[in-house]
């Protein structure tokens, strides 16, 4: 049955490989580091599959409900008698689903990287960082304690930083890594304060206890936190919203998304793993983890989640339509899709049919991980082939790299929501959930779906059609088996994943939820998607002037989208302009002039006084005698008149 030993091995194997490769790799294991990392992931993935099988089909369900099983935990750092950070592993439907996704995608990326990173000088560093990331991500999803989650949350941030900045001699990569870390750190501040608020009132950091205390109506803990208020909102709202800020940062929600497009400076497989499939959905995962509290105790916070998600998804889709860097388009599409997941959670209720959004969100997380990883790996293959990220350098590649072409197409169809690809099913559920609970968001979602189809196929056509390349311009062919295998496998998964009865396994309350696809309901979104695809085809299948014309027609909107709505500039103003330029400079100036100046002034004052006092020493005995006399007299006066 579920045994702590081998479940613990799932995260520990990557850790071991990180330590091994990281410490010895550079000198002794340079060639072997890739295979070692891959092997550990393979084992880890196999163990994850076994665990998933056992959990979903044997051990997990108690009286028909999926339970949270804490495999083991120990007190890692005690704060006060009740509150401690425990390190532990907890299995429940979403964590099991996540370990599957993480290990699977990580395995694919490892295999892919074996070929993609071949010849790289710092290949062992690369693989050790990948292992570190996988370990941290697994630790995050398996966390039994909200602080443990925060710890691994930070660690995935670190691995992301290290991997984005992998090509550290490129200043843009360094800047991007820095930006990613700082922006997410800023968001994590919200997470941290959220934890502080919640844990103070719930008097625990343990997920299971925390959730049950804060979601049981009438519990003293819930009363205490909802009765305390700050600036008109209850502390529960504050806590949950701040928690979500952390999630929004990691998941690149508007307006904290600015790091994600830049993060594409990292090696492409890394983008596939971290910035598409796993780390960026941590925010969604976190909200899902805390979902009972959001849904049952604080609908207001859930509204924030919903609208942030909706706005982000639309916003990112708009930007994605005009970008010319293939990876950036994919990055914005990732942001948009995560926005989908977010608002799906946001519109969801708790339990039964109401919880459709919850299931849909995680279903979309699952399918998105597959097809987005596929897209990125495909993009990697393309970049590998043309040595450029720019769409303008591509075109007509369909014959040169056929496997990539087919798999890319599969992924595009999936993300566009064309049946029977997996994206269709998950997106359909999300639309259904939002239709039922929040009509404005449904409209946004619908429009975004159309946009998604358009920009994805804009990408597809620009890469693989548009212009014809002469056959000999690129001598080397598609990447080797190691690169193609993950593409094909992921394409197969993308094709098949939609048919998994997801609601049976994952639902807001642990009870199976059956959802069906209503043909009538699906008609509009599918039609919209097809519209988008055809429009993209018209614009980009052949070289034409249509896009330019459209751009002139749209005018300002096009420009704004092309400039990413200048959000980066706003942030830059706030940070560089205000915080660094004014606050920082003021602090430095204050320190140098006022504080240091005061000390120096004190010293020179003493010197001046000293020089003045020394003047008293005239060298004349009569002056001295006068001083003595004056001294005696003043002493006499003091004692006879003051002291007496």
């Amino acid at each position: 049955m579920l045994s702590a030993t081998y479940i613990a091995l799932i995260p520990l194997l990557p850790l071991a490989s990180f330590l091994l490769i990281g410490l010895l790799g550079k000198r002794y294991l340079k060639m072997a580091s890739g295979p070692i990392g891959t092997l550990s992931l393979l084992l880890s993935c196999a163990l994850a599959c076994i665990t998933a099988f056992q959990y979903f089909f044997q051990a997990g369900r108690v009286n028909g409900v999926f339970e949270k099983i804490t495999v083991f935990k120990f007190a890692w750092l005690n704060f006060s008698p009740n509150v401690s950070i425990d390190m532990g592993l907890v299995l429940d439907p979403i964590s099991v689903m996540m370990i599957l996704v993480v290990t699977l995608i990580a395995l694919m990326v490892h295999i892919y990287s074996l070929s993609y990173m071949k010849g790289e000088e710092r290949v062992s560093t690369y693989f050790s960082f990948l292992s570190l990331f996988t370990f941290s991500m697994l630790g995050l999803v398996l966390a039994s304690n909200i602080f443990q989650m925060y710890i691994f949350w930070e660690l995935v941030g670190l691995s992301s930083y290290l991997l984005i900045g992998f090509y550290f001699d490129k200043p843009s990569a360094v800047a991007a890594a820095k930006k990613a870390f700082i922006v997410t750190r800023f968001a994590d501040l919200g997470f941290l304060i959220g934890i502080l608020i919640l844990s103070f009132h719930a008097e625990t950091l343990d997920f299971t206890t925390l959730i049950s205390r804060l979601s049981t109506p009438g519990s003293p803990w819930l009363l205490s936190i909802s009765s305390a208020s700050f600036m008109g909102f209850s502390l529960l709202t504050w806590g949950l919203v701040l928690l979500f800020v952390g999630g929004a940062g990691k998941s690149a929600m508007f307006p904290l998304h600015i790091w994600l497009p830049d993060a594409m400076e990292g090696p492409t497989p890394v983008s596939a793993l971290i910035h598409a499939a796993t780390m960026v959905v941590a925010g969604v995962f976190m909200v899902a983890r805390m979902f009972p509290v959001y849904a049952l105790s604080c609908p207001a916070a859930l509204q924030v989640v919903a609208w942030t998600g909706a706005i982000s998804s639309l916003f990112a889709a708009l930007i994605a339509c005009t970008q010319t860097d293939i990876k950036r388009v994919l990055a914005y599409s990732t942001m948009s899709q995560i926005g989908y997941m977010m608002f799906a959670l946001g519109v969801s209720g708790y339990g039964g049919e109401n919880g459709l959004g919850y299931t849909a969100s995680l279903f979309h997380l699952f399918t998105h991980a597959l097809f987005k990883a596929l897209l990125f790996l495909g993009a990697g293959a393309v970049i590998h082939y043309v040595h450029s990220n720019e769409l303008s350098k591509m075109g007509g590649l369909r014959k040169h790299i056929p496997i990539t072409h087919i798999t890319f197409l599969v992924a595009c169809l999936a993300i566009a929501g064309v049946p029977p690809f997996s994206g269709f099913f998950s997106k359909e559920e999300i639309l259904m959930a939002s239709y039922q609970h929040n009509f404005p968001i449904y409209c946004i979602a619908l429009f975004t779906a159309g946009l998604t189809a358009f920009y994805m196929f804009r990408l597809y056509f620009s890469i693989f059609w548009k212009k014809e390349l002469s056959a000999d311009s690129h001598a080397h062919g598609e990447g080797g088996f190691a690169m193609m295998f993950p593409l094909v496998l992921l394409a197969l998964f993308t094709l098949g994943a939609g048919f998994i009865p997801f609601g049976k396994f994952i639902s807001s309350d642990g009870l199976p939820l059956t959802s069906e696809v209503h043909l009538g309901f699906s008609l509009i979104p599918v039609l919209l998607s097809l519209c988008g695809i055809f429009m993209a085809m018209a614009f980009y299948k052949k070289e034409s002037t249509l896009p330019d014309k459209a751009a002139t027609v749209l005018g300002e909107l096009y420009k704004a989208s092309f400039n990413k709505f200048k959000i980066d500039e706003v942030w830059l103003k706030v940070t560089k302009g205000f915080l660094f330029g004014i606050v920082g400079r003021f602090a430095a100036w204050f320190d140098k002039s006022i504080i240091n100046g005061a000390i120096d002034l004190g010293a020179s004052f003493a010197e001046v006084v000293s020089d003045t006092v020394r003047m008293l020493q005239t060298g004349k005995v009569q002056d001295y005698a006068a001083c003595v006399l004056a001294g005696v007299l003043s002493l006499c006066l003091y004692f006879l008149y003051v002291w007496m």
């Binding site: 005995v621 001083c627 003595v628 003091y638 007496m644």
Partner: protein, 468 residues
């Protein structure tokens, strides 16, 4: 008159004997070289030091005019030690002197005066001792005949002393007018703080002491005299002369004027604060090391006043302890300064730049001494100073403690300036490397041993404390 007489006056007698020996030498063996004179006198002074430690008992002579007890005996031994150390350090300087025997004669007669002063039981005796100690000092100050500054120093000292003696005598006469006696034991019960005239007398007498201690504003003579005098005399002035005054001041305050406790407590506190503050201010920017030490001695004396405020055995023993430590540290410093001054005629702080590169031993001696003066652990100065402050703290005068503590920081600055010159500053032509005479090694060794051991090993303090 019996054996009692010899035992009680043994310190004075032994000094007198050495004086006679010197006179005999001067008269009958005028050709005796400075070096052999130096050897002879030092042996005699060593014997004198040993004699000082033998059979210290309590007693009175001449109808209470002269009295002694183990504490006074120990105090005299400290001064004996001081004179021995000065003598050991003056070898280099003696080579320049024609009248070396006279130097010793003057030195010993002023010490004799101090002994009488310390042992006095009557203000008359006290005054006699005071003058006996002052006049030869003025002669000593101007002992460098070929230096203008030295003569100037002698003049200034004698004039200023005369002035302060006048004030002191005025106070004494008022006191006598009020009470009809000058005897310590008889005076004590007659004095009360209600009588304004007595208070006036006390202030005048105290001013006389303050002059000797060079407390601000009675200190102006100090810097000029210290700078002008030969280094050995400066050392003597700054330690031995001050110590003797402090010792008798303790007796006078704690016994004669004990009824005026509240008055002298305030007086001491005020003078201490003023002295240490101004002493430090004066010292901050001095460039001549002897002048620097002059002002540093003003500050150190102020700390002694702080300790005296305690008003009982604890303060008394802390003061004696501090003086012993101060003697060691100051003589260590003066030993080096006098050697360098006599050999190279260099007395500025700037001259010591790069000193460590050529003379590591002397540098360490100087630095340890400076740290001891500044009250930095593990040197004994730290203990000495803290004991004084702690004694004062038992009275709970926060303001006094605050001033004293903060002034320790200010004084650190100018001590560190010297350390900086020795260790840190670079110099193209530093003072050369020089072999040291054995006598200097001996005296510096004693001083440094004192600086390092007196604090950490509690024995000496316990000994002093148990004398009472």
């Amino acid at each position: 008159m019996g054996t009692d007489f010899f035992i009680l006056m043994k310190s004075e007698l032994s000094l007198a004997i050495i004086l006679f020996v010197l006179i005999f030498i001067k008269v009958f063996r005028e050709d005796m070289s400075n070096a052999s004179l130096f050897r002879l006198v030092n042996i005699l002074l060593l014997l004198n030091l040993i004699v000082g430690f033998l059979c210290n008992s309590k007693g009175e002579l001449f109808g209470g005019m002269f009295r002694t007890d183990p504490v006074i005996g120990f105090e005299k031994s400290i001064l004996n030690l001081g004179i021995l150390l000065i003598s050991l350090q003056s070898l280099e300087w003696s080579k320049l002197q024609k009248h070396f025997a006279e130097f010793y004669m003057l030195l010993l007669s002023t010490l004799l005066g101090m002994f009488f002063m310390m042992s006095s039981g009557n203000f008359l005796m006290f005054y006699l001792g005071l003058e006996l100690s002052t006049i030869p000092l003025a002669a000593l100050s101007s002992f460098d005949f070929n230096k203008m500054k030295s003569s100037e120093a002698g003049m200034k000292l004698i004039l200023s002393s005369a002035f302060s003696s006048a004030i002191l005598l005025f106070g004494l006469s008022i006191l006598y007018g009020c009470t009809g006696t000058l005897e310590f034991n008889a005076l004590a019960p007659l004095i009360s703080s209600v009588d304004h005239l007595q208070l006036l007398a006390f202030i005048l007498i105290f001013s006389g002491f303050a002059f000797k201690l060079s407390t601000v504003p009675f200190h102006f003579w100090t810097a000029d005299v210290y700078e002008g005098s030969p280094v050995a005399v400066t050392a003597y002035l700054s330690v031995v002369s001050k110590a003797s005054v402090i010792f008798i001041l303790l007796t006078v305050l704690y016994t004669v004027f004990r009824n005026l406790g509240a008055a002298w407590y305030d007086l001491l506190a005020i003078l201490a604060v003023i002295s240490m503050t101004f002493g430090n201010l004066f010292a901050l920017r001095q460039d001549n090391i002897k002048r620097l030490l002059a002002f540093s001695s003003i500050t150190q004396a102020a700390y002694l006043l702080v300790g005296i405020t305690e008003g009982s055995i604890l303060g008394w023993s802390s003061v004696i302890y501090f003086i012993l430590i101060y003697l060691c540290s100051n003589f260590a410093l003066f030993g080096v300064v006098s050697f360098v001054s006599a050999r190279y005629n260099k007395e500025m702080i700037a001259d010591y730049k790069g000193f460590y590169a050529t003379n590591p031993f002397l540098s360490w001696v100087m630095v340890l001494a400076l740290f001891s003066l500044a009250g930095i652990p593990p040197t004994a100065g730290f203990f000495g100073k803290l004991f004084l402050l702690t004694s004062a703290a038992t009275k709970g005068n926060t303001l006094l403690i605050i001033f004293a503590s903060l002034n320790m920081v200010a004084s650190l600055y100018y001590y560190l300036r010297v350390v900086k010159a020795i260790f840190i500053d670079k110099n193209e032509n530093p003072i050369e490397k020089t072999p040291l005479p054995l006598s200097l090694y001996l005296s510096l060794g004693v001083c440094i041993a004192g600086v390092l051991m007196l604090g950490i090993f509690p024995g000496v303090f316990q000994y002093i404390y148990k004398l009472f």
